[in-house]
Amino acid sequence: MSGHSYDSANYWKANLRLIIGSLIIWALVSYGFAILLRPMLAGIAIGGTDLGFWFAQQGSILTFIALIFHYAWRMNKIDEKFGVHEE
């Protein structure tokens, strides 16, 4: 696959940026809000418990879904912008 005309270095950088941003949110909602930062969210009551518990049992899963669809959608745009999308 040598000799491609597109800007491969910047395409890869754009992908890495998007992945890193997504994984920061991925870690924040699960390891952060649901586990390590739970005591800080203890003041926010929700349904007989606190926000950290909600993130542990529902919020993180919903965020994961949003992250994957956002990534797929953004990557399609980036693929097209750099002309590496599939025919």
């Binding site: 992908n15 007989g48 049992q57």
Partner: protein, 588 residues
């Protein structure tokens, strides 16, 4: 109609459906057999991944684990879903672009080494075989409970059904039966949950019911549950945990392990395009989340139902008389999964946490020990009976539990058989084998794998309960880092990758064996498996994430002091990063 006849109709009907699909989707080539021809729609694939992924453990055991552990066991919910984010961004699209048939094949090509491919084959087989034992055993249990046949007999029936559609149809047959199995299992799981949520909270959506008001008491459901169980000496359901490091590492191990399990990864080889691999990871998680968002609601509601059944007049009043126990308790007593012993001879059922802290209170009430032992695996299976649902819902649950076990077993068996026929036979022993010969070899490997899995399912080794930890530990510590480095680094070479895999694997296995016994043989553990003995409080179940870190560190360290990978390998890495030109899995 008797319950037995209803169960038979549901289970038999679902099996007939799977076999008809298998005949329709017969595999004609190795490409059909390994990757379903490479033309599966991303939403279809997402649904198939859902069934592939959700095993007997997800369907039957997970709600019970959460019911018992409360907040602390949220790790399973996050761990078994968060891995899909890693798959979607770090592995699936690039492996799809690589466009071949198996996980060891990528590792062998990328690290230009037959030894690397062989190490990957061994990791894959150990992880998948240990995992499949649990599925077969689970199918046997479901058969014996719902169809009143002997567990071994049930296992053999299950094996024959899997044999028909997996050997005949390969990945193609498995994909379309998994779609049907997903529908069966999700309907079976959600219907009882909706009714229970309605009964307890008036809200028909279980995940919303979980955070709603308990209709009888007017308190939030979780607050009511906390009140009842803490009155009886149990830990609060929603309380925070002390050992956060272990909770983080356990969740991380499950996530990395999920992303590294070969039977899930190969499902992404079946879609037509790289973009489809990304979308189908999202769809997979949507379909998985339908069950995973329902499970914690089922967990807390079933626990609350159990407690209010035993203490109908509140925890301060006397518990229920044994002779007045509801019929579902009677039925499950027959299976031995609910056990009652009247320790203080008062004819009532005392259910409480038998600890020193609660001893004074228990004695003051004339209690002489906890009298009811409920196996946590029955919560989901007994749900329809607890909620007084009609008999067809019970039949549906039986078919759903079997669908969950069989779909995962089939996916695992395909991963095993393709590693043997494609990586060992074609890759190492006989590279000149024809497509027809390889297809035959794949079918024979599949048949042998089913026989071995059935035998092990009927005679589970003593370590059956520990195998999930082993499968996730291996996938996390060996396969995931090797795959990720193969894509994201051009610098990691064959020596680095093999050393990394072996170091991660050895470290993880040794840490597990030190606490769980060498090869899980009871009595051979060097240290007792209690938190006080764990290094930094890290449980052997959480060690896979540390093994993965060691794998990364060793691979980078050794690669940086040894030679660059050859130019054509660096070009291979370059090519998997760009979607263009991914049409169809490459034959070679």
């Amino acid at each position: 109609m008797s319950q037995f006849a209803v169960n038979l109709i549901f289970v038999g009907g679902s099996f007939l459906l799977y076999i008809l699909i298998a005949i329709w989707a017969k595999a004609g080539s190795t490409k059909d057999f390994y990757v379903a021809g490479g033309g599966v729609h991303p939403i279809t694939n997402g649904m198939a991944i859902g069934a592939d992924w959700m095993s007997a453990a997800s369907f039957i055991s997970m709600a019970g684990l959460i019911a018992a552990g409360g907040y602390a066991n949220s790790t399973f919910l996050m761990g078994w879903t968060g891995g899909y984010v890693l798959l979607a961004m770090l592995l699936a699209p690039y492996l799809r672009k690589f466009g071949k048939f198996t996980v060891p094949e990528f590792i062998g090509d990328r690290f230009y080494s037959k030894s690397a491919r062989l190490v990957a084959v061994v990791c894959l087989i150990v992880a998948s075989v240990t995992y499949v034992i649990g599925q077969m055993a689970g199918a046997g249990v479901a058969f014996s409970r719902f169809l009143e046949v002997d567990a071994t007999m049930g296992l053999i029936i299950a094996a024959i059904v899997v044999f028909v559609y997996a050997v005949l149809g390969g990945m193609k047959g498995i994909t379309y039966t998994q779609v049907a199995q997903y529908c069966v299992l999700i309907i079976a799981y959600t219907i009882p949950a909706v009714f229970i949520s309605l009964q307890l909270t008036g809200n028909p959506v279980p995940p919303l019911g979980l955070f709603s008001t308990h209709a009888d008491s007017g308190l939030p459901l979780l607050e009511k549950l906390n009140q009842i169980i803490t009155d009886l000496g149990f830990n609060s359901y929603t309380d925070d945990v002390d050992n956060k490091l272990n909770m983080v590492l356990f969740t991380l191990s499950l996530m990395i392990g999920t992303a590294g399990l070969p039977h899930v990864i190969i499902r992404f080889f079946t879609v037509p395009k790289v973009a489809d691999a990304r979308w189908s990871a999202g769809w997979a998680l949507v379909f998985i989340a339908l069950l995973y968002l329902t499970a914690p609601a089922v967990a807390s509601m079933a626990r609350l139902n159990l407690m209010t059944t035993i203490y109908p007049d509140g925890t301060a009043a006397a518990p229920i008389e044994y002779d007045e126990r509801p019929s579902w308790v009677r039925e499950w007593e027959v299976t031995g999964l609910i056990q009652y012993e009247d320790k203080n001879n008062d004819g009532r059922i005392q259910l409480y946490n038998d600890t020193d802290a609660f001893k004074a209170e228990a004695e003051s009430r004339g209690w002489n020990g906890n009298e009811l032992v409920v196996n946590r695996d029955i919560l989901v299976l007994a749900n329809p009976e607890i909620a007084n649902l009609p008999s067809w819902v019970i039949g549906l649950i039986a078919a759903g539990g079997l669908a969950a076990a069989l779909s995962t077993a089939a996916g695992l068996l395909l991963a095993i058989s393709s590693a043997i026929s494609h990586d060992l036979i074609k890759g190492a022993i006989n590279p000149n084998i024809t497509d027809k010969g390889e297809l035959l070899a794949a079918r024979i490997s599949m048949a042998v794998a089913i026989v071995v899995a059935t035998y092990l399912g009927a005679n589970p080794p003593g370590f059956a309960a520990q195998v999930v930890a082993l499968a996730f530990g291996i996938a996390a510590a060996s396969l995931f880092p090797a795959l990720m480095m193969g894509i994201f680094s051009k610098r990691v070479n064959n020596t680095g990758a093999i050393s990394g895999m072996l170091a991660g694997l050895t470290f993880t296995l040794v840490y597990i064996f030190v606490y769980k016994g060498w090869l899980f043989i009871p009595g051979t553990n060097n240290l007792e498996d209690i938190p006080a003995n764990w290094i930094l409080g890290i449980s052997p179940l959480s060690i896979g994430a540390v093994g993965a870190l060691i794998n990364f560190a060793i691979a980078f360290g050794i690669s940086s002091v040894t030679e660059q990978p050859p130019k054509e390998i660096q070009e291979l890495v370059e090519s998997v990063r760009y979607p263009r030109g991914a049409s169809g899995a490459v034959d070679h």
